[in-house]
Symmetry: C2
Subunit: 219 residues, 2 copies
């Protein structure tokens, strides 16, 4: 089964929302896709006819197994291309998303498989998000928010919660990226901010809000 770019984008959008909420509703998908509720209804009928959705009028909807597999295929392509752009073409990690949004719709299966091998079958993209394998299996690592880590423990940054341009820009200033090693030196009770050591640089202070959105795992 193959899909249009528009279908793939909707599938991805539904997948994203249903991971948080289970059932998805029309308005929230319209917001996610930056489109109108009526357009969402149109596409839902199409995806239902392709047997990718459980959907009943007015009752909400979610992807079935076929739909989830289709979503994971797109996510896989997106994240592999992001990895390529950062690791091979040396893009800044906060610049690659819109380009990967285009590349993810290239259809060749063999291309994806060869790209995966060329990149060394990576498990995580440059934002720390897991890359599904060709069967849709997602690698897991146990990770905690930086705000829950005890003092002096060495940890590695594994992903970022709030992947806005603003957040990524901020982390770039702190020299924090996926794979960066951190240690917490002190917590300021006043506002919850943390003094941390980033790799081998001087110590610096990050807000509690930032700390909550930085996820880490053991070294």
């Amino acid at each position: 089964m193959s899909f249009t770019t528009s279908e793939e984008n909707y599938i991805k959008g539904i997948f994203h929302l249903q991971q948080e909420t289970g059932l998805v509703n029309t308005n929230s998908l319209a917001a996610e896709m930056q489109t109108r509720p009526a357009s969402v209804t149109d596409m839902l009928k199409k995806l239902k006819s392709k047997k990718l959705l459980q959907y009943e009028k007015y009752k909400g909807f979610k992807l079935n197994e076929a739909g989830k597999k289709a979503a994971l295929d797109v996510v896989r392509k997106h994240r592999l291309w992001e990895f390529f752009l950062v690791e091979k073409l040396k893009f800044d990690w906060d610049k690659v998303h819109p380009i990967a949004e285009e590349l993810e719709h290239i259809s060749s299966e063999e291309l994806v498989q060869r790209l995966d091998n060329f990149l060394g079958n990576p498990s995580f993209d440059p934002h720390g998000d897991p890359i599904p394998d060709k069967n849709g299996k997602i690698p897991v690592i146990k990770q905690q928010s930086l705000s829950e880590i005890p003092f002096k423990k060495n940890v590695t940054v594994s992903s970022v919660g709030n992947q806005t341009a603003q957040m990524l820009d901020m982390l770039k200033h702190y020299n924090i990226a996926i794979g960066t090693q951190l240690t917490i030196l002190k917590k300021f009770e006043f506002d919850g901010s943390l003094e941390i050591k980033v790799s081998k640089q001087n110590a610096c202070i990050i807000s509690e809000q930032v700390a909550k959105n930085v996820f880490v795992h053991d070294v």
Copy 2:
């Protein structure tokens, strides 16, 4: 100025035809694009309104300077991606065309420039066709058909005239690719076929028709 995938494909098709015939006509472009003459007329109006064409009803058409630059941009992207697919992802050179047809429409200029650098700024793609630089400048080498080369002279394959799947399949059997070194051992007057030595392999015989479509340059 940016273009839709469809516009880019038409621009490329016109560019291809006008290199041989100067002025292009509606029917031949329809054949090239595997579409209907009426669809060609529709698109010509659009491209004319975007000031990419000289076009008068019933009189034929050709790209102006802006149109040619647009065509060269697409050709550049196509050939850089083909190079990537063969050199980095290890695709057979006769399998990459349809994938590059998709990749050539990815819009990021920075992507193309970084890809070019990543690949080492190659001058020729895996079929031996020249890769325009970012200003649209095309590298040239003087090349001759294999059928015009004297005996015993060492030459390198630089491109292939008839890039059909059938031809590329045939050359693969002979172990001939771009960059392969050849020497002509004997010409059979009976049908014009040639006995040649391919790299360090045993001698073999190719038809006159094949020889005419294999272009070579000095070692």
